[in-house]
Structures are given as structure tokens and as C-alpha cells.
């Protein structure tokens, strides 16, 4: 049984067809890439699968269970972690609070614990704090735990966001352009982070990326999207040679 399966997904934004007849199969532990020019519908596909939008047509299965129509937090707590193109960090919260927040669905102390501060609450909070610190440690940003995220350098913010997504304990991780706007040094660090995550937790990864270097190096399977439709699918080598992909990115070669 595949980890994530999308069948014939189509989505309209009031008459505009954003995604057409999209299919996807991701097996556990696989790294899958999604590339395409700006406006091709990549982020829309992410938002459809993660539950931000409900697809007009089609079916989505996570571990064999249909997740169409579920709230994003329900889908997330089933083991789908994600990062955002523009990070979407919480501006008034510290690094540690960010990672602890992503444990929300695992808290069982309920309102009584929250209002009256029961022993169970302090035990659970201590547990998730410990786990959060381990994640921050793994990504090498533990020393910033008590700082407000807005005061940190861009590369660190990206890592914090990654730690936050990992705190969901994802079976599959959706990364939306995780290296956008990075310097070459930060990029190298981020690639290392991807490898660490994959080695330590072994989640499947679904990646939107513009930098060909990253995609070609990491992904086992790549889909190319243009105007909401998959125009090519295959291994990195196949994609690189595919004339349709070249056309979508560079335009058609003029025949004299």
C-alpha cells in the first residue's frame, strides 16, 4: 500500500482550472520532487493535499484512508508535516515555543489541565519540551531556543521551521521551496539538514524546488508541472532529457 496516493485530482478556482487530472503515488521513505515554472500550480497541489483547499474532484489517500474534506490539523496529526514558501513563523513566539506548539495534537491534559495546572500537564509539557530540544539539537539550533524567531538570521529561521514540521512526527514531509533565497553556504547547510532528517526519521519527502542542483541530487522521482498538468514524470536523468520540460522552462526551439 502506498503511503500517499492521489487519484485524478482536479481543482477549479471559480472557473479557473488550477490543477487538472493530477496523480501521485509516494511510497514510504521515498523522496519525490515537483518542479515547474512559476504559477504552474505546485503550491496549490500542496494546499489541496494538506487540506487547506478541498479538491473539486478526485481522491486522496493517506495510508489507504481518504483524507478529502478533512481539516488541515486532522491531516497533519495523521503524520503529514509541512513547511511553507514564506515560512509563516509566529512572530511573537520563541524558537522553543514554535517546536512545542507542533506537539499540540499529542497533548492529552485537556482544559482542566490547562486551567488548573494539574500534575499531568506539567509532566506532558516537560516531555514535549525535551523532545523539542532534541529536535532543535539535531538541526543545530538549540542555542537559540529562548530567542524570538524574528531576531534570528534567515538560515536559522528555516531550520526552526523544519524542526517545527518534524515535531508533528511526519511520515511524509511536504517542503515548499525550502532553499528559496538562501546563500550558497546556507544551501549546503540545508542539504545536510535534509539528509540528516531522512537518515534519522526516514520520512517520505515531497519537495517543491526551483534549484535544479537540489532536485537532481535528492529526488528519486520527479514530476514536472505546467499550467496545472503534469507534463513529464520520471527519474532526474529522464526529466533532464525530456524535450517537453525544456520547452516549458526555456520555450520552444525555433525551427528555421
Amino acid at each position: 500500500m502506498p503511503l500517499l496516493q492521489v487519484k485524478n485530482m482536479t481543482h477549479f478556482f471559480s472557473g479557473l482550472r488550477a490543477v487538472h487530472n493530477y496523480n501521485l503515488v509516494i511510497e514510504p521513505g521515498e523522496i519525490h520532487g515537483l518542479i515547474g515554472p512559476n504559477g504552474a500550480g505546485k503550491t496549490t497541489i500542496f494546499n489541496l493535499i494538506t487540506g487547506v483547499y478541498t479538491p473539486t474532484e478526485g481522491e486522496i489517500y493517506l495510508e489507504g484512508e481518504s483524507i478529502v474534506g478533512m481539516q488541515p490539523h486532522e491531516i497533519a496529526s495523521r503524520g503529514l508535516g509541512r513547511t511553507f514558501q514564506n515560512m509563516k513563523l509566529w512572530r511573537h513566539m520563541t524558537v522553543l515555543e514554535h517546536v512545542m506548539m507542533a506537539h499540540y495534537s499529542k497533548l492529552t491534559y485537556g482544559l482542566v489541565g490547562a486551567f488548573f495546572g494539574t500534575a499531568k500537564r506539567y509532566r506532558e509539557e516537560a516531555e514535549i519540551e525535551k523532545h523539542s530540544m532534541e529536535l532543535l539539537d539535531l538541526l543545530g539550533v538549540a542555542q537559540f531556543a529562548d530567542q524570538n524567531v524574528l531576531n534570528l538570521p534567515y538560515g536559522v529561521q528555516r531550520k526552526v521551521e523544519m524542526a517545527r514540521a518534524l515535531a508533528v512526527q511526519p511520515k511524509i514531509l511536504f517542503l515548499d521551496e525550502p532553499t528559496v533565497g538562501m546563500t550558497p553556504e546556507e544551501l549546503v547547510g540545508m542539504m545536510e539538514v535534509f539528509r540528516t532528517i531522512h537518515r534519522e526519521f526516514g520520512p517520505a519527502i515531497f519537495l517543491i524546488e526551483h534549484r535544479m542542483k537540489v532536485v537532481m541530487e535528492l529526488c528519486e522521482q520527479i514530476q514536472t508541472l505546467n499550467f496545472g498538468e503534469v507534463i513529464a514524470e520520471g527519474t532526474p536523468e529522464e526529466i533532464q532529457r525530456n524535450p517537453k520540460v525544456i520547452e516549458a522552462y526555456l520555450g520552444k526551439e525555433e525551427v528555421e
Binding site: L89, S105, F116
Partner: protein
């Protein structure tokens, strides 16, 4: 030069722990209750100045020296002397308390605070009323801060929640335990009523939080201005509903509430309110409010149940607003729908934004400061409503999120022994 002067002042005050200040204040109040009357006579004052002499100074400028001397000799000098002399002992005691469980230490401090307030209030009924209203204002401000500050929704429905709570609690007590024109004979003896009063208040809070669903459910899809208008509409609906309900007196209001909102009752409820709200906002479940405010879609993607979070915030805030309303009804012993209108809304919002968003201590400072200020400046009549708004504008310009915003309320930190700056360096 200037900084050095400030440093000196700060060093002068920084050596005393909270316990020292509380006991100092208690000493001053004790002094007042013992020698206040003859002392004010010597200084030519008609009676003990009720609000640190400010009201008298503004009313009769000729009495300024007397009132000033009174405040200096009864409050300022004894407190400063006491805290300076006992600083060492107090630090030793605070250190001992710091090693004991927090609840014990906190309870002890609160006990001293309560006796100070009680003794202070014994001088005049005006002071008693002022303290009760101030404690209720703290509850209101804090509960609104949960919605407007911690969750960042601009809710205008707080007077509506208060009105629900005030009427439910009043109907409970007047209807069950009092002989009343509207509700007829008492159903139960008034003697047990005092003990059942908390049940009435909890009922008031519960009804208010059910009312909050009317605002909470639209908040799933709307934010900002639109939600502000929905909540404003809710406030008006509640007000006109009560105005048209002849059963509870309609626009004439409801009176005859028993005098059960005594100082200890109000004090305990206020402490409970501060305690539960602080517990809540310090938990990860409570911090989910901040996550929803700062970036809702990210909160949702990180497994935070945003709808539940919004419902909890509205219902919890409304619960305490309802209880505060119920207490208010029993402090004033008369309510009418007009009490819970735009004026009240402006007052509560001003206290929240004056004190500081996202901060328990800010709300306490906001409520106490605003109430004291508004009482002290009462003799200025119309000018009061120029000075207070100007102050608010200044706060908004220089500290846009309020005086003490985004601060944790760490009780242990407040109560711990204080070393002198010199020793700390």
C-alpha cells in the same frame, strides 16, 4: 548625570522583595487606621483623605499642603522607612519562602494583600466600593485580553457577556432567595443563599459562554473588522433583548440584589480568575491562541485545532466576563441594560490597550491604573475626559501595544528575594 540619578533611585528601591512592600503597605494602612483621624484634624483636613489626597488637592487647592503632608507622613515615609530597615530580614524571609512550594508562598502574600486592602477599605465605604470595582475591572480586562490580546481578534461583545452574567446571577439570587416585586416570594431561605451564591455565579459564567458561541462560530471564517462588527452586533442584541424582557424589569432594570458580593468574595473570585487565566495562557494549549493570531494557516498545519482554540478563547473569556458581571450586579445592587452599552465597552477596551496586550500583569496594571486615575481626577469634571484620552493617545504613540505588553507573569520571579544592584554586579 540623569542616568546616575535614576540608577540611585532604582538602587534605593530594588533591595526590597515583594513581601517587604506588602508588609510596608500593611504597616502604613495600620498606622492610618490608628492615628489617621486625629492626624488629619491636626493638618486641617476635614477627614481622612480617601484617595491619597489627590481628590482633596484638586477640589480645594488651599488644602494641598495638608494633604501632601498627610500622604508623606502616613504612607510614603513609613513605607520607605519600613522597607529600608527590614530589607535584610525580608530578603531572608523571601529566600526561605522561595524554597517552599509556590502555592504556599503565593497564598501568604495574597493574605497580606487581602488584609491590607481590607484595613484600607474600613476607613470609608467609598474605598470599599472602589476596591471591589477595581477587582471586577481586573477580571474584565483580563478576560477581554484573552480574546483581544492573546488571540488578536477585536471583540466588542464583552459588555454583552457581562450583561448576560449580571442578569443570570441576579435572577438566581433575587428570584430564589429574596421577596421581590417581580419574582414574588423567596423560594428558599436567604440564609443558605450566601453559600449557593458561587453556583449562581458559575451559572452566570456558563450562560455567558454559551452566548459567546454566537461570536465564536462566525470567527471560524471571518477576522478583523468583520468580526468586530459581528461582536458589536451581539452586544446590541443582548442589550435590546433585555430591554424588551419585562420579566426582568425591561429598561427599568433589576434591583434588590442581596449584598453577597463582599470584599472576600470578590477578592477570591478575582484571584481565581487571574490564576486560571495565567495557567491557561502559559500552557501550550493556551499559546495556541498566539499561534492562531500570528499565522493561522501555519497553526492549522502544525496540528493545532484552530476552531477549538477559538471556541475555547471566546467561551473562556466570556465565562469570566459573565462572573464579573454577576459580581458587579451584586456590588451595585442595581443593574439596567444601559449599564452594558458602548460606554462600558470603551472603558474595558481602554483598560486592555492601556495596560498591555498579551500580558496578565499588563491587564492588572491597566485595570487598577485606569480606575484609580478616573477616580482621582473626578473633581476635574469635564477636564477628566480630556486628560484620560490624551494619556491614552500618548500611551498608544509611545507604546503601541500598551504599557506592559508581551510579558510573562512569573509569580516566582515577582516574589523572589531581591539583591541590591551593587551586590548583583
Amino acid at each position: 548625570m540623569k542616568e546616575k540619578r535614576f540608577y540611585r533611585i532604582r538602587r534605593f528601591f530594588s533591595g526590597t522583595p515583594a513581601l517587604g512592600w506588602l508588609l510596608g503597605a500593611f504597616g502604613a494602612v495600620l498606622l492610618e487606621s490608628l492615628v489617621g483621624d486625629p492626624f488629619s484634624e491636626i493638618l486641617g483636613l476635614p477627614k481622612i483623605p480617601v484617595l491619597f489626597g489627590v481628590v482633596i488637592m484638586l477640589k480645594k487647592p488651599a488644602l494641598i499642603p495638608g494633604a501632601f503632608a498627610y500622604v508623606l507622613l502616613i504612607y510614603a515615609i513609613p513605607v520607605i522607612l519600613f522597607t529600608r530597615i527590614t530589607a535584610k530580614g525580608m530578603n531572608w524571609m523571601a529566600d526561605k519562602l522561595d524554597k517552599m512550594p509556590l502555592w504556599f508562598s503565593a497564598a501568604l502574600h495574597l493574605l497580606v494583600l487581602y488584609f491590607t486592602l481590607d484595613l484600607w477599605a474600613q476607613v470609608s465605604d467609598y474605598r470599599l466600593l472602589l476596591i471591589k470595582l477595581m477587582l471586577i475591572a481586573i477580571m474584565l480586562t483580563l478576560s477581554l485580553n484573552v480574546i483581544n490580546g492573546y488571540m488578536g481578534e477585536f471583540s466588542c461583545s464583552h459588555p454583552g457577556f457581562m450583561a448576560l452574567g449580571a442578569y443570570v446571577a441576579s435572577v438566581f439570587t433575587v428570584g430564589l432567595f429574596m421577596n421581590d416585586r417581580l419574582f414574588g416570594h423567596a423560594l428558599l431561605p436567604a440564609g443558605i443563599g450566601q453559600f449557593l451564591f458561587p453556583i449562581g455565579l458559575i451559572l452566570a459564567g456558563a450562560i455567558a459562554s454559551i452566548g459567546a458561541l454566537v461570536v465564536a462560530i462566525p470567527s471560524f471564517r471571518t477576522r478583523g473588522d468583520y468580526l468586530a462588527i459581528i461582536s458589536l452586533a451581539f452586544m446590541f442584541i443582548v442589550k435590546s433583548l433585555i430591554e424588551n424582557l419585562e420579566v426582568v424589569g425591561g429598561p427599568r432594570g433589576l434591583s434588590g440584589q442581596p449584598d453577597w458580593a463582599t470584599l472576600p468574595t470578590v477578592f477570591i473570585w478575582a484571584i481565581l480568575c487571574v490564576w486560571t487565566i495565567n495557567n491557561f495562557v502559559e500552557s501550550t494549549m493556551g499559546k495556541a491562541l498566539n499561534a492562531v493570531r500570528d499565522e493561522e494557516s501555519a497553526a492549522d498545519a502544525m496540528t493545532v485545532n484552530t476552531r477549538k482554540t477559538k471556541m475555547i478563547a471566546f467561551m473562556f473569556g466570556a465565562f469570566w466576563a459573565g462572573i464579573a458581571g454577576g459580581l458587579l450586579a451584586h456590588v451595585l445592587r442595581y443593574i439596567n441594560p444601559g449599564t452594558f452599552g458602548l460606554q462600558k465597552l470603551a472603558e474595558v477596551l481602554a483598560m486592555v490597550y492601556f495596560g498591555g496586550l498579551n500580558s496578565v500583569i499588563g491587564s492588572i496594571v491597566g485595570a487598577v491604573g485606569f480606575n484609580l486615575l478616573s477616580e482621582m481626577l473626578r473633581p476635574l469634571e469635564i477636564f477628566k475626559w480630556i486628560i484620560i484620552p490624551v494619556l491614552l493617545i500618548l500611551v498608544m504613540i509611545f507604546r503601541p501595544t500598551g504599557l506592559i505588553a508581551f510579558k510573562h507573569f512569573d509569580i516566582r520571579e515577582i516574589l523572589k528575594p531581591k539583591l541590591k544592584m551593587k551586590e548583583r554586579v
